[in-house]
Symmetry: C2
Subunit: 319 residues, 2 copies
């Protein structure tokens, strides 16, 4: 990803107006995980294409991802991202809205630079647009859930599929489309992406509460503080006895509680209900589904090592 990092450091540098392009330069220069471009490249490589050839598509998805972060951080009032102030905190909301808009458009421009035939480019653009729209749907469901009394675990999985998983799936399928893989293989790559995407988000739910702030790059317990209905919370609510349920609903009814006390009280209930373990079981289930989708891809198993490894890395990561 080094060449991509170098590319991102130059892409918006010195462009005018500075208040539009500096925030873009700021977020693209951050030390991100670069999972999405890696998926595009791994998928292309799996079907015999030099990963460097697909770098514009890879860059486009990373830019799309960063656009969603800029806007989501405004909506979620998130102060810190990757250990740095979020764009809207570093500048202001108006600048963050507009920088996000511009970055989404630059992502499309990046995609249109891909060195492939026009039909392939349009296929990838179609997928890119559908993916982007589904991410908006996922974010809106996420916002809706904040004020809904009843959210089922199925609703939650649907939301994170849209908000997180379709992007990873879109990356993998785009790499496959670029490499002219068969439709069946494109679909298997997409399904692999959906399953690791869901596992990835469930892992994120765990890391939000159970991780080292320094390593994770943001405060722990943020989801509890913000009354986010995560997999952890919904699992706890489903399995709680009457008193635990009352305590959970009480603490999730307001953000005015003493934060440390609230986080500890909720964490205690999670512990007694083994919520972390149950979430890890769900992660393992989705990881297994992902591996099964990957097995269905008609490429010899030894060429899939990096993708198997990546699935493991995402599940066992600590940030």
């Amino acid at each position: 990803m080094d060449s991509l990092d170098t590319y991102f450091q130059s892409i918006a540098k010195g462009c005018e107006p500075a208040n539009l392009y500096d925030p873009i330069n700021y977020i693209l220069s951050q030390d991100g995980k670069r999972i999405r471009p890696r998926l595009v490249m791994l998928a292309a490589e799996l079907f015999g294409v030099n990963p460097d050839e697909v770098k514009h598509v890879a860059a486009a998805f990373e830019m799309l991802h960063n656009f969603t972060l800029i806007h989501d951080d405004i909506m979620d009032e998130a102060p810190i991202r990757r250990g740095m102030p979020t764009v809207y905190r570093q500048w202001n909301s108006n600048i963050a809205i507009l920088a996000g808009d511009a970055l989404a458009i630059m992502a499309l421009q990046e995609l249109l630079k891909a060195p492939c035939d026009d039909a392939t480019k349009i296929k990838i653009s179609d997928l890119f647009a559908r993916t982007s729209l589904e991410i908006c749907e996922g974010q809106q469901y996420d916002l809706d859930f904040e004020t809904m009394d009843h959210v089922s675990i199925d609703d939650y999985i649907k939301m994170i599929r849209l908000k997180t998983a379709v992007m990873l799936a879109g990356c993998l399928k785009s790499g496959a489309i670029f490499a002219q893989a068969s439709e069946a293989d494109q679909q298997a790559m997409y399904d692999y992406g959906i399953h690791i995407g869901i596992a990835f988000q469930l892992k994120d739910d765990i890391l939000d509460l159970y991780s080292d702030t320094q390593v994770f790059g943001k405060m722990t317990g943020g989801d509890i503080k913000e009354n986010k209905k995560t997999y952890l919370y919904l699992t706890a609510l489903k399995d709680a006895d009457a008193q635990q349920r009352q305590t959970l609903l009480h603490y999730f009814s307001s953000t005015d509680f003493d934060q440390e006390q609230k986080i500890q009280a909720v964490k205690d209930i999670y512990e007694s209900l083994k919520v972390k373990e149950k979430t890890e079981q769900a992660i393992n289930l989705y990881a297994a589904k992902a591996l099964s989708s990957l097995q269905a891809v008609s490429v010899s198993e030894d060429r899939k090592n990096k993708l198997y490894e990546l699935a493991n890395t995402l599940v066992s990561r600590d940030k």
Copy 2:
């Protein structure tokens, strides 16, 4: 435009989540001027293409325009648009950010539906992306100007070229590209669009102050209230004597003045400096440039009647 209105009324109807698609349905169903799709269709028709064939491209630009309105209204804190509450006022800022994002993506999807060969589709998509990015640049300059001490009239024209004119130019050139017009004709159509676009925005500056609120659909004097550095204000500042200059700078230093008194005081200075007449002269100059660009298009003059008429309509409109 009737068929487009009908199309827009159905495009997001009943889609889920409602909080994402209802605002899109709300803004697309409003009684807009539909200038942009009309330009796409007129351009295609000029080069012998049935306007109905280009309707997806036309719809895409209207959707792109409405995306910019949703986000701009958040940034400008505009309460009313087309006589109705703006999206962020009718719902809230978060919903407006996300609905705008989704609408921009739907615009791209609409564009990708255009019934033309892949190479043409990519050419139009390239132009669509560049245009969208320039609009963001224009909006950022506009925001920057709010806190800048010195803005020249040239700076202002550059800003409105980006914020308003490139979209009209993009519509006209897209229609020409779709119709396989020569590169020279594509460029002449683009130039025509830039010039009517600038004239259009200068007219908007006049209408903001000198129009019937009922007809215009928003409060008059909003630009003065918000200390917007419009063509009117910059012309006044340029031509003002020392005392008038001091009065203008005084009133434009804060939004805390009594609004009616402020608007009247500024309007009095504008009147004594003939600012409205000077702006009308500038409009006529850009309108003349537009007509000159249109003359350069290699199509017989009698087929250009609708475009000449449109230029006149935009310049003499009262809303």
